[in-house]
Symmetry: C2
């Protein structure tokens, strides 16, 4: 069977690496000439709205998935008329507009920060009054990794945020206090079976994920159950198939939803070594109608992104329990070039190993 992936980046690459042992073959569509997934998949070079390229791409495929959430919905729907597409295009549609996503969460009873949609300057002022400060102004569409957003603490910052982003459809969200950011990876099969990975704790730098700890330290069964209940509501509402990531803010045992991504997710990379079945394999199992794999983890792990600069490979491999994943991408400031998963027999050993790894990582200038 041949699986198509819209996007040929590292997520497509890791999907293919997980699927090849299952007897699957892969084809990616990506406008880039030199893409990470091309080492393990056929590569059709083309834009995502080029229907001639899409016809080339889909020919002979058994199903299609995607590795980024900004896939044009019309493209996903066009493909879905030809082969099964997972996750369902409706998930893209809901998630591509921050307002529709938040309204969707509200309807499902998944709590999140106060927000207001903004059309013009008057709307911005009204939103500031309704939401209060501190808040964060974001574009409604096509934001990722902290791009297209601005935090506002006072009137001066409100002005500069408006100068930067005004004129586009925006959303103002209350900046909620939180102790940490958590995410859950959920997976749902074609038959409706659901499975959940343990909540992980995420650490960002400059809006980009830098480190995930799995499971989240001090994770209680109550918190895990709460996250699973929220994720399950989303999965069922969308008749979802595949892996879904949901990010939360935690505040005193409460979870406020931040956003979701209808795909495999950077905060689930730890699952390659850390879980019984990786998010990549489970995404494929789900999409192909195969039984889901176990999501349990025998021991704590951590994942560190390699951003912008690469360490020397032997320096990483010298750290006990370090598992290196390079994406074959050329270094560029801030770019996700790879990640390292660190396994250990317990949380104390994990801390020691993680510290040893961090000493090997070149630091990018801020």
């Amino acid at each position: 069977m041949k699986v198509g992936i819209l996007g040929g980046g590292q997520l497509g690459r890791m999907l293919a690496l997980a699927g090849l042992p299952l007897g699957l073959r892969f084809r990616v569509l990506d406008p880039g000439r030199d893409v990470a997934a091309a080492a393990v998949a056929e590569h059709v070079v083309g834009e995502y709205e080029d229907y001639a390229a899409l016809a080339d791409f889909v020919s002979g495929l058994d199903c299609v998935t995607y590795e980024f959430e900004n896939v044009p919905v019309r493209t996903a729907e066009w493909l879905a008329q030809r082969v099964p597409v997972f996750p369902p295009p409706a998930a893209l549609d809901v998630g591509q507009d921050r307002i529709s996503e938040k309204v969707f969460f509200q309807k499902l009873g998944v709590p999140g920060p106060t927000f207001r949609a903004i059309g013009d300057r008057a709307g911005f002022d009204a939103a500031l009054a309704a939401v209060g400060l501190p808040a964060v102004l974001k574009t409604r569409r096509f934001g990722y990794d902290g791009k297209g957003q601005r935090v506002i603490h006072d009137a001066a910052e409100a002005e500069s945020a408006w100068d930067l982003l005004g004129g586009r459809p925006l959303i103002l969200e209350r900046l909620v206090p939180f102790q940490r950011e958590l995410s859950i990876l959920a997976v749902r099969g074609r038959d409706g079976a659901e499975s959940f990975y343990p909540l992980v704790e995420n650490h960002h730098r400059g809006g980009t994920l830098r480190k995930s700890l799995a499971p989240a330290p001090g994770l209680t069964p109550a918190l895990q159950t709460l996250a699973e209940r929220h994720a399950s509501a989303v999965l069922r509402a969308l008749d979802y198939v595949g892996v879904l990531a949901i990010e939360f803010f935690e505040w005193n045992g409460q979870l406020l939803v931040n956003e979701m991504a209808p795909r495999v997710h950077n905060s689930g990379h730890w699952s390659i070594e850390g879980a019984e079945t990786s998010q990549f394999e489970n995404h494929l199992r789900a999409g192909l109608g195969w039984p889901l794999g176990e999501t349990g983890m025998p021991r704590p792990v951590a994942m560190i992104n390699l951003l912008g600069l690469l360490p020397e490979t032997p320096d990483v491999l010298a750290v006990p329990g370090a598992h290196l994943h390079l994406y074959g991408k050329a270094p560029r400031p801030g770019r996700k070039l790879g990640h390292v998963t660190v396994t250990a027999s317990g949380s104390e050993e994990l801390k020691t190993r993680l510290a040893a790894l961090e000493r090997q990582l070149p630091q990018e200038p801020h």
Copy 2:
């Protein structure tokens, strides 16, 4: 960096799958047109003694390894004049002749069954007298998976064995009583660092490995130490680099060596999920001069070969802890088409899961 592999079968495929995340690229040389490794590596179609093909193959490579032990020694030596080749060609040389291999083990003090080299019929009769019955008659060279050998219990079987194999250089080995067959996977780095996987228990059918249990049930520290001492002697004597497999017969806590394979080995496939670092990754780490990865295993696992016929993928994946590895090869009687590794939290659960898996496997007619 680009690694060359002589042979494009499943071992080459799994080496590439292990090496791609480490940032490596691969090229295989194989006379077959449609080979398992081609999904994840460049493929130069050529014979192993075609020096024009070898020149094409080696151009731009950083090092070369091999996935089968019958690589012509001259080819390995020719390549070694151009790029580093691992394991060292001397290991091929010793291992390709069963007599030189057994003499090598003897010199190192690694005990094995009594044997005699046979040149002609008179030599065969002398060997029968010296070795005694039961015994096994084998070709000295190019045997694998039980091919080119015949067990002899009496005079009539001696005649039929001679009719089948006589005329070629042969070896007669005493058929020793044993409780089970065990193997150890050892790895040695360029710097001489050594590491060992736990002994595994192997079950064959018709001369072909069918199942491995890792670690070998009831494995004692004394037996593991004994196997490591033998393996270490072999590694050091050959100034070995890479993964080496050695097969033993166990009889009342004693180990008699059967044979070695200077490569990654079917009885180490469990290490992909079962060990901290797989044999494939450690073979590459060793050959590239990188630190070796940990060989420990957090829990017992089993590996079952898929021979000749393939089960339905969903039936395999429905078994908890089952990890499927298909090689992309067309089914053919007795052919190794893939394997399944089964993980479990303990040995009782492993038994239950293994039994569930075995019920899903189609049986080949005998």
